[in-house]
């Protein structure tokens, strides 16, 4: 594409490398050194001690349980999204009815509803339903808020399926259901993995719903654990950063394995 390097852009990217690289270095270095080493030699220095106490310390303050809870929430959210969004996207792309286009418009509008906007009534509804301080009370709203973007991503992917394929199947007298299972689902595997990664990221990183809808340690998720760790052990910076690093390990693993799906999904937001 470009034969000569773009100097302005190159300088900008080096600046960004510094801005991202330095904090990441400080964070990783801090997690393997002792509290004393960090306090005496400063955050930017090279560690002169090595310890894994900061990581084990996080588990001692309950992160094992929080990880398990987050895993349950994430798994269930992915399950709900995979159950609801493919038929929805299929209808959006293929149905010609007015009701379907009205539903699609509802989801487009839903893209703009921030979780903060509904958190008060959500607290009311979840309490009334007896789901307060219960993981299910976190799972349901989190999944609902994954739907608009997932519908947008997956319907975008399903639009790339050639109409000739539908026509060929229609000639054979295939029902919409058969087309869905034999044509649409197999051909939109890329889009499906994108919405899985996207929902996983949303669920894993979710904060507001767990903050307001849960209370006890047994229903606490990782992000909330981090928040609590900070308010309780704020001075133990290496310990705190150890917990931060642990909280991002699963996401980094997902990123390494599903980088393409993730980047595609996020780029899709550009509305091209």
């Amino acid at each position: 594409m470009r034969r000569r390097p773009h100097y302005l852009a190159g300088a900008g990217s080096l600046f960004w490398l510094f801005l991202v690289g330095l904090p990441l270095y400080v964070m990783l270095a801090a997690t393997v050194r002792t509290r004393q080493d960090y306090a005496e030699n400063g955050p930017v220095s090279i560690p002169d001690s090595f310890t894994l106490d900061n990581y084990t310390g996080a588990f001692d303050s309950g992160f094992g349980q929080y990880f398990f809870n987050t895993l349950v929430v994430t798994g269930c959210v992915i399950g709900i999204v995979l159950l609801l969004v493919p038929p929805l996207a299929y209808a959006i792309v293929r149905s010609r009815g007015r009701t379907t286009s009205a539903i699609f418009r509802l989801f487009l509008l839903g893209l703009a509803i921030p979780a903060q906007a509904v958190i008060v009534p959500m607290f009311y509804l979840i309490s009334k339903a007896g789901l307060y301080d219960n993981l299910l009370g976190v799972i349901l709203p989190t999944a609902a808020f994954c739907l608009p973007m997932s519908a947008l991503i997956l319907s975008g992917a399903m639009r790339d399926i050639s109409p000739e394929l539908y026509e060929a199947m229609a000639m054979d007298g295939a029902s919409p259901r058969r087309m869905f299972f034999q044509l649409v689902l197999p051909l939109s595997r890329g889009g499906l993995s994108t919405i899985v990664v996207f929902s996983a990221l949303q669920a894993w990183n979710g904060f507001l719903f767990p903050l307001v809808l849960t209370q006890s340690d047994s229903a606490k998720v990782v992000t909330l654990g981090l928040y609590n760790f900070q308010t309780e052990h704020g001075i133990d910076i290496p310990g705190l950063l150890g917990a931060v690093v642990l909280s991002m390990v699963p996401i980094l693993l997902v990123y390494l394995f599903a980088r393409r799906a993730l980047v595609q999904g996020l780029m899709g937001v550009g509305g091209k």
């Binding site: 470009r2 149905s95 921030p114 919409p176 991002m248 937001v269 550009g270």
Partner: protein, 318 residues
């Protein structure tokens, strides 16, 4: 992209034209799914997003402490908020932070996006590092920066020539600066991705023509790349605005709205009213104001960027 379809009509032809062929058109109508396929998702979404949205409007006219039952109080919450200086300050701060975010992040992410769209050596490796902030939760990012900027043990204590006494959270101006910086750190990679995709989609013929006419790198950037990124700029800015209006974790974790109420933005004030002061009516009123602003902006998104006419999202990915 529109430019793509106009430049290659034969390729786009069969898709649109297929419905005009009589046998095919009668056949396609047979196998189309009804709205029932969309119904389960619609009902679920309505129950957990639309119903609460209606309820927040109703609750804004009620008084509720979170335990008893809500009572109708008319305009009481609204008139109290109208007399509340913190409310006005929070709106002003929200706007300030949002504008700061757009002004700082837009040029930065355009430069980075155009760079990442090219073919430099080491680009793939660098991209991985660049985009790490994108993967972190707002919670992790905020906790990380709270630790890194700690007045006693953080980076400011090392670089006093730059940070003075090092307590960035003690004053309104620096606290706002920190909030703007942390949002930039976290969200620039996301907007970079948007621009990267758009920069890849710019037709190469334009650059080749400019090269023949003797236009230099910077003229090409300002006269070709930038105008071609117009739609992405609109989308990205609107996402920044909606994101800015709803910033929450960053403020809760980094400043708790302080010092005093100096960084109490609207979303944080809503949380503070509802879940700390147990004044759920006032919290609902603030939330409703947030929804209205976000909805107005999203309607603009749908109109301006053509989300509803979108055909494909698969272009320009490495």
């Amino acid at each position: 992209m529109t430019t793509k379809t106009t430049s290659a009509p034969p390729a786009a032809g069969p898709r649109k034209g297929s419905r005009r062929r009589p046998p095919a058109s009668s056949a396609t109508k047979v196998g189309r799914p009804g709205f029932a396929w969309a119904l389960p998702a619609a009902v679920f979404f309505a129950l957990f997003a639309i119903v609460p949205l209606i309820m927040v409007a109703v609750l804004s006219f009620m008084s509720w402490d979170g335990l008893g039952s809500p009572e109708f109080v008319g305009m009481d919450n609204w008139s109290r908020l109208m007399d509340d200086p913190v409310m006005f300050q929070s709106v002003w701060l929200t706007l300030l932070l949002t504008v700061l975010g757009v002004v700082v992040q837009t040029p930065l992410s355009i430069v980075l996006g155009v760079w990442a769209a090219g073919h430099q050596r080491n680009r793939a490796v660098l991209s991985v590092i660049y985009f790490i902030p994108l993967l972190l939760s707002a919670t992790a990012v905020s906790v990380l920066w709270r630790a890194l900027l700690d007045p006693n043990f953080g980076i400011p204590a090392e670089a006093t020539w730059l940070f003075g006494d090092g307590n960035l959270f003690g004053e309104q101006a620096t606290a706002i600066g920190v909030l703007a910086f942390v949002s930039t750190w976290q969200f620039t990679p996301f907007h970079t991705l948007i621009y990267q995709g758009a920069a890849r989609a710019v037709p190469q013929v334009l650059y080749q023509a400019a090269e023949i006419d003797g236009a230099g790198r910077y003229r090409q950037f300002f006269h070709i790349t930038l105008p071609q990124l117009r739609n992405s700029m609109i989308t990205s800015m609107i996402l920044m605005i909606v994101g800015g209006l709803t910033t929450f974790e960053t403020v809760l974790i980094l400043t708790q709205g302080g010092p005093g109420t100096d960084t109490t933005i609207s979303a944080y004030y809503m949380y503070d009213k509802a879940f700390k002061s147990f004044d759920f009516g006032a919290g609902s009123a603030i939330a409703l104001a947030l929804v209205v602003s976000a909805t107005v902006i999203s309607l603009i998104v749908v109109r301006v960027s053509g989300y509803d006419k979108m055909r494909s999202t698969m272009e320009g990915v490495s």
